[in-house]
């Protein structure tokens, strides 16, 4: 029922975007660069999990995506408080 012809291309492009942001996590000169790249990487991974669930017809992956979005939000807030020195 789902046309699977274009989904592998889309998943490949999003994986390339994830690897580019991961390059910034490794290379970034300051700590703020690394955390901004980590925030972008978690948002990209949320979309990638939903697309992988559609592509392989495993619909529990979208539940994983819900928990991943909430946990990444809490983690980024905690990291920002730690960087500021108020944790």
């Amino acid at each position: 029922m789902i046309e699977l012809s274009f989904l592998p291309t889309v998943v490949t492009i999003i994986t390339i975007a994830f690897l580019l942001s991961f390059f910034r996590i490794i290379k970034g000169p300051t700590a703020g660069d690394r955390f901004i790249a980590l925030d972008a990487a978690t948002t990209i991974t949320t979309a990638l999990l939903a697309l992988l669930g559609v592509m392989y017809e495993r619909m529990w992956l979208i539940d994983v995506a819900i928990i991943y979005a909430l946990l990444s939000f809490i983690a980024i807030i905690a990291i920002a408080r730690y960087l500021e020195g108020g944790l």
Binding site: A17, D33, A37, T43, A47, V54, D63
Partner: protein
């Protein structure tokens, strides 16, 4: 057809955000590229998934869109404030509107 268009637009914005994260010269300009582009890209992609599948998956996808759209600007604001208070400044441009407020 609509789902393919939405997923393609979302993929384009996710890739543009990642390229901006590589190419821009400064932490705040990188954040300007990465946060907005990935928020719109993830929202468009999840809306395409919701349109494609329907049912309970659509409800969960819309819930993820709400989480991402509420949470991503908040975390970007927290990181920007923490980075400014620990001494990161912009490289391009000389006008700093927050200097009187923080010093």
């Amino acid at each position: 057809m609509i789902a393919e268009i939405l997923i393609s637009i979302g993929t384009f914005f996710l890739l543009v955000g990642a390229i901006g994260l590589i190419r821009l010269p400064d932490m705040f300009t990188r954040m300007h590229a990465a946060t907005k582009c990935t928020t719109l890209g993830a929202a468009c992609t999840l809306l395409g998934v919701a349109w494609l599948m329907g049912g309970s998956v659509a409800v969960k996808a819309v819930l993820i869109i709400v989480f991402v759209v509420l949470g991503n600007p908040t975390s970007a604001h927290a990181i920007a404030r923490a980075a400014y208070r620990t001494g990161t400044r912009m490289k391009i441009g000389s006008y700093d509107a927050f200097k009187e407020e923080f010093e």
